[in-house]
């Protein structure tokens, strides 16, 4: 068994899904706790101090959304949502409420582990912050507000830089259109998602090796964007 990666709380009412998630995370080196409903989930979250939560949105006693809202009043630990593809709006609501990422059912073990690792890594990074971020051939110095590609300076407009910085600060996390618009443009731009899409396009042109098939500034269609290093 590898070194302890972290403690993960699984809140899912379907025992078979819970089982394979538990097995996969266990083999990855995570300590797991399981709950089948929102009430038990919140109790375990308070008692065991997990490093992250894997949460199904459709739970028998309450919506998983209630768990997110409750948890976010006292904790910032990463939450990974398990949800059906058909419901983009549910994902957006959950992310706006404070969830960090989602996995669309059905999902494979590899996808699950990739997401869990990314969220746990981000949590570790948060404890050791560094102003330098590297992805592909790009290096961003957040302290000096300098962006370089292959060692050459890349000029970004203030909004482009602000958008990039916001995405980098939330490495691995899905940010909804609303969250990004509010963060970068301000409250008045809630319905103006075309700004966001155009600026993401410009950032990709400047930073992605292949702008039409981005590797780092990823689109979560109908939901938002994610930076993935």
């Amino acid at each position: 068994m590898t070194a302890m990666l972290g403690k993960v709380l699984i809140v899912e009412d379907e025992p078979r899904i819970r089982r394979f998630v538990r097995d996969a995370l266990g083999r990855e080196g995570c300590e797991t706790f399981e709950a089948g409903n929102v009430g038990d989930g919140l109790e375990l979250a308070g008692a065991q101090h997990p490093d992250m939560i894997v949460l199904d949105l459709g739970l028998p006693d309450q919506s998983g959304l209630e768990l997110i809202r409750n948890l976010r009043t006292w904790s910032s630990i990463p939450i990974l949502i398990l949800s059906a593809r058909i419901a983009e709006q549910d994902k957006v609501t959950a992310l706006d409420a404070g969830a960090d990422d989602y996995l669309t059912k059905p999902f494979g073990v590899a996808e699950l582990l990739a997401r869990v690792r990314a969220l746990l890594r981000r949590r570790q990074q948060e404890s050791r912050p560094s102003p330098i971020r590297r992805f592909g051939d790009v290096e961003v110095d957040l302290s000096r507000r300098v962006v370089q590609r292959d060692g050459a300076d890349i000029r970004l407009t203030p909004l482009e830089y602000s958008l990039l910085a916001t995405l980098l600060a939330n490495d691995g996390k899905v940010l909804t259109h609303r969250q990004l618009l509010r963060e970068v443009w301000g409250d008045g731009y809630a319905g103006q998602s075309h700004y966001l899409k155009v600026y993401i396009g410009r950032l990709r042109q400047k930073l992605e090796p292949n702008p039409t098939q981005p590797q780092f500034l990823l689109t979560e269609t109908g939901v938002g964007y994610r930076f993935q290093s």
Partner: protein, 478 residues
């Protein structure tokens, strides 16, 4: 008057005169103006004949009686006129009281009407009191139609139609009698004509309707208000019903989707867990488990398509359109299909500087994914898949092409039909639902989608209409 004859000698002639006047008065009250006037003349004549000497002769002995006659005549005529006028007024007052009461009752009856048919029945019962027939016509999408099981001949329907069009009463006296409708009153609420009340007299008497016209117009106005009220209530009920139905459909779909996805998620996850197990019997277990997982994913794919189609049909395509660049959904579609595309080179051509297009990103991503999946499925292994974006007048076209055997001859139009597949007998899996979904989505965007065979392959192209994208306020320089 002749009763007074025996008292001719004992009663003063002036009192007999009074008796005559009384007779005139009474006849005026009871019998009306004509008989009263007749009574006046008769009285004077009789008075002269019986009571003025010489008796039993119209001759007058004393010339001063001529003054009596003149006064009698004048007073009699005036009395009869005044009295009958009074009587007429009383009668009119009574009639208008009856009309008011009936109108009031009409309002009360209409208040409890549940539908337009009942309104028609109530209107008919109301006009029945005035010996009038009526037919209620209401204005609907299919024109002016009689309510309930009534019907109106073509000629009269024409009059009703013009009353409706001009919002003016039309009277056709020449049709009076023979049970025809002769008056057509538009029923309007604030200049909007909701229907026409066609009225005809039972007797061939056109004047009756003209007399009653104020009443009839008041009734038409009342009926109009009720018809409008019912129409509004009906619209509200319908939209509630529709909303309920939609909620039900959506919740059934959601439940179905959840109930079928949950076991599939377990299956995929558990098979995946097994495939990653490093056990002595290794190879076979891993292969089998991987196969199980892939089959479960394939099943999920079919299920998703079916549910998507059901959702598209149930929702009347509620689009979440936003202005955005097309290359973004192309990129995300390619990322979703990364593993399926691994065996094929992808040639993408997107011209720079394309305008933003207004579309639902989730649905258009679905279209592009379905087209790419089809292109992969039916292409010769190892050959490239092409995706071309082209700006055309008023629309943006996306074409996905592969190299392979193409669509079977003559099937290019039918491939978009539900459950029709390009190659019915082929071993390649598929439900024939993918292109049907594409077509439903593109049609919802007012776009076009066509399938065609090209030299050594097939091509499906869809286009989205261009519009006027919102402006983008540029930043001042960094």
């Amino acid at each position: 008057m002749l009763i007074a004859l025996p008292f001719r000698d004992s009663v003063d002639i002036a009192n007999i005169d009074m008796l005559f006047l009384l007779a005139v008065f009474v006849s005026a009250v009871w019998l009306g103006r004509g008989p009263a006037v007749m009574a006046v003349f008769l009285s004077v004549a009789l008075f002269d004949f019986f009571f003025v000497p010489p008796y039993l002769s119209f001759a007058v002995a004393d010339a001063q009686y001529l003054i009596t006659f003149a006064v009698m005549l004048t007073v009699g005529l005036l009395t009869s006129h005044l009295v009958s006028l009074l009587a007429e007024r009383t009668e009119q007052a009574q009639e208008s009281e009856i009309q008011t009461r009936l109108l009031h009752a009409l309002g009360r009856d209409l208040g409890v009407a549940m539908n337009v048919e009942q309104v028609g029945t109530i209107a008919a019962a109301f006009l029945d009191e005035f010996e009038l027939n009526c037919i209620l016509l209401t204005h609907s999408k299919s024109g002016l139609l009689p309510v309930g099981d009534t019907s109106l001949p073509v000629l009269e329907t024409g009059f009703a139609q013009s009353a409706c069009d001009r919002n003016a009463v039309i009277e056709v006296d020449t049709l009076a009698g023979a049970g025809r409708m002769i008056a057509f009153l538009p029923m309007a609420v604030s200049d909007r004509v909701l229907g026409v009340l066609a009225i005809g007299p039972r007797q061939p008497n056109a004047g009756r309707i003209r007399e009653l016209r104020p009443l009839l117009e008041a009734a038409a106005a009342q009926i109009a208000l009720i018809v409008e009220h019912l129409a509004q209530a009906d619209a509200i009920r319908k939209s509630e019903l529709q909303a309920n139905e939609e909620r039900l459909r959506t919740s059934i779909l959601a439940a179905l989707s959840h109930d079928m996805r949950t076991p599939l998620t377990s299956l995929v996850g558990l098979a995946d867990t097994l495939a990653q197990q490093k056990s002595p019997s290794g190879q076979i277990v891993t292969e089998t488990a991987t196969e199980i997982r892939d089959q479960a994913l394939a099943m999920h794919h079919i299920l998703s398509n079916l549910l998507e189609m059901a959702r598209l049909q149930a929702n009347d395509m509620r689009l979440n359109k936003e202005w955005q660049p097309i290359d973004e959904v192309i990129g995300s579609s390619i990322r979703l299909l990364a593993s399926a595309l691994s065996g094929h080179a992808l040639e993408i051509r997107i011209p720079p500087g394309l305008p933003l297009v207004n579309f639902d990103a989730v649905l258009i991503e679905r279209v592009i994914c379905n087209l790419l999946e089809n292109a992969i499925k039916y292409s010769t292994p190892g050959t490239p898949i092409r995706l071309d974006v082209e700006l055309q007048p008023h629309r943006l076209e996306v074409a996905v092409a592969n190299r392979g055997s193409g669509f079977p001859a003559g099937s290019c139009d039918s491939v978009f039909d539900l459950f029709v597949r390009g190659e019915p007998e082929s071993a390649t899996g598929g439900t024939g639902i993918g292109l049907a979904i594409c077509q439903a989505i593109i049609a919802g965007h007012n776009g076009q989608i066509v399938a065609e065979n090209i030299p050594d392959g097939a091509c499906v192209r869809f286009s989205l209409p261009l519009g006027t994208p919102p402006t983008l306020a540029e930043e001042s320089a960094s």
